[in-house]
């Protein structure tokens, strides 16, 4: 990946950020809420892609960190009666990071299929715990997560929850998303990010320029867990309910899907993939009971026709047009 100069990035990023800020005044609250889901999934996909796109590790267990972020919030609400979103985020991220620290310690010793299977297996341990320990987790009924206070200000008495989620909560998510994108952009363009890309390209040579491969993989795993946990923490109040479904391996598969759909070899690919996937899934679920078949078809077409994903293909087309001009 040849780095794109920051100035060229800002040319695209600023108009998109401005568009995201004005959207709530031009689209319906339902659409805004859908976009919130998309942005939250995009944060998870960014974290996931630090491992896949930049370190060359395919995890099938990222539902574990998303789920821990969500359950961390749900536990704090239920057992500690905390309603401050900032405190809930800290709790959710700490819970997800702790699990990522443990799982990462075991997983980064392996690569390729062994890494993928181990991450999947460990995430399923968490799912079974959430499923079986119903007196703590609520089992399949899950745990309710009421609307939290944002920066110390709760929902006004009588205020419509949908309006709250589509306005204040959306902007809250949007600001965290933008900060998350900026921080991740710096990370992947830092010397640390270059070391990860070196490990992805050639592990042996990376060792022979002095990069301690396992240690750097572990650091990437932790950062990835923090991002995915943050997404889970933001998702819980928006969804209003945390159930074991969010820990199942199929949700890990969806995170992989976001990233492949957008293009894992580009920085913006996972963001676009997450937002598009969320709309695709919502549309498919509302349109047909065979929505999984529809999404499966999309994935097959994608892999065969657009292996570089939406953003990867678009940027190649733009490059070709530039050269032709």
């Amino acid at each position: 990946m040849i780095p794109v100069p920051p100035r060229r990035v800002l040319v695209y990023a600023i108009p998109i950020a401005l568009l995201l800020f004005v959207l709530p005044s031009v689209v319906s609250p339902y659409e805004v809420t859908q976009l919130s889901y998309g942005l939250i999934f995009a944060i998870a996909a960014l974290g996931f892609n630090l491992l896949l796109g930049y370190t060359g590790l395919l995890s099938f267990g990222h539902s574990a960190y998303f789920g821990m972020g969500a359950y961390g919030v749900a536990f704090m609400v239920k057992y500690l009666k905390i309603s401050s979103m900032e405190a809930l985020i800290v709790g959710g991220v700490v819970a997800a990071t702790a699990v990522a620290a443990l799982f990462g310690f075991l997983c980064v010793r392996y690569t390729r299929i062994f890494f993928g299977i181990l991450t999947l297996a460990l995430s399923q341990v968490l799912w079974s715990l959430a499923f079986k320990f119903f007196w703590v987790t609520g089992g399949t009924d899950g745990l309710r997560v009421p609307t939290p206070s944002l920066l110390g200000v709760g929902m006004a008495p009588g205020q419509d929850k949908m309006a709250f989620l589509a306005h204040r909560y959306y902007y809250y998510v949007l600001v965290i998303f933008l900060v998350g994108v900026a921080v991740m952009w710096v990370i992947v363009h830092s010397p640390f990010g270059k070391a990860l890309q070196a490990i992805r390209d050639n592990e042996t040579r990376a060792e022979f320029v002095g990069v301690q491969v396992r240690r750097y993989r572990y650091m990437a795993f932790l950062v990835s867990g923090v991002y995915t946990g943050l997404a889970g923490a933001l998702w819980a109040p928006l969804n209003g309910l945390t159930t074991p479904d969010i820990l199942v391996w199929t949700f890990s598969g969806e995170i992989v899907f976001f990233t492949v759909l957008g293009g894992f070899q580009t920085f913006a690919g996972p963001i676009v993939g997450a937002v598009v996937f969320n709309y695709l899934k919502t549309f498919a679920v509302g349109y047909t009971v065979y929505w999984q078949m529809f999404l499966g078809g999309v994935l097959v077409v994608l892999v065969l026709a657009l292996p570089a994903g939406i953003v990867g293909t678009a940027s190649r087309l733009i490059d070709r047009l530039r050269k032709a001009a």
Partner: protein, 251 residues
């Protein structure tokens, strides 16, 4: 003065004695050629010294320090670097970033998450200078995977050189390139190694290259050292010519 020495170094792969009780020394400032037929144990010896393989027994001393049980990155920190027989690069990174990564690593900067790599002008300038020395400056923005075989060979050496090693192992730096490209590549490499006062060990099959550029030659055969001497001594060594060429020195 000896920079590196091995004592009774052993590495067996089953019944194959890849390196068999080898006592090998490299002197400060020399350009040493390590030669021998395929399977003689040259690359295994370099793999043991650089840390890619663990020795079954024996010792490796570098600048008086026992490095036998050190990890690869500890040996790099001591000043041992290497290039590879089959080009080993970071193909999706730019040519400049391939070099910059060595410099970041050498300076302990690869742990930095929140600074932009491209904004470190000291590293960028040094990487550009290394590329200039190797004649690759014009390729700085190109991905390493897009370079020609000769350029990739040079970059492979440049990545190791950017670590500023005290001892540099070059494993067949001219293999896979055309005969016409060999001399220019070796001219560049030897000029840089000598001007940088780096001690270098070159594994090479091309005898023209070996005799033209090396100060001393060590010949390996079946995991042991067969001969050790100046190019003239090796050229007239009957045992070497019989073993490598199947003829007598005078023939």
């Amino acid at each position: 003065m000896s920079l590196l020495s091995t004592k009774s170094l052993v590495k067996y792969f089953g019944d194959t004695h890849a390196v068999d009780r080898v006592d090998f020394t490299v002197n400060q400032g020399e350009l040493l050629a390590l030669i021998g037929s395929n399977g003689a144990g040259k690359t295994s010896l370099v793999n043991l010294i650089s840390g890619l393989l663990r020795a079954d027994s024996g010792q490796i001393h570098f600048q008086g320090t026992d490095v036998t049980h050190q990890s690869i990155h500890e040996r790099i920190a001591e000043g041992i670097a290497r290039s590879f027989q089959l080009v080993n690069l970071f193909d999706q990174l730019s040519t400049l970033d391939n070099i910059a990564l060595s410099i970041f690593s050498r300076e302990g900067k690869t742990r930095r998450l929140f600074t932009l790599a491209d904004h470190d002008s000291a590293v960028r300038d040094e990487a550009t200078e290394v590329l200039r020395q190797f004649g690759l400056e014009a390729r700085a923005r190109m991905v390493a995977g897009g370079l020609s075989q000769g350029e990739r060979k040079l970059l492979d050496v440049a990545v190791a050189y950017a670590l500023r090693p005290k001892l540099l192992f070059l494993d067949e730096p001219t293999s896979g390139v055309s005969t016409r490209e060999k001399a220019p590549i070796m001219d560049v490499i030897t000029a840089i190694v000598r001007s940088g006062k780096i001690t270098a060990v070159i594994i090479e099959h091309d005898m023209d290259v070996v005799f033209k550029y090396s100060d001393r030659i060590v010949v390996m055969h079946q995991g042991t050292i067969l001969a050790d001497g100046t190019p003239d001594q090796i050229r007239t060594n009957d045992q070497v010519t019989m073993t490598l060429l199947g003829t007598h020195a005078g023939a």
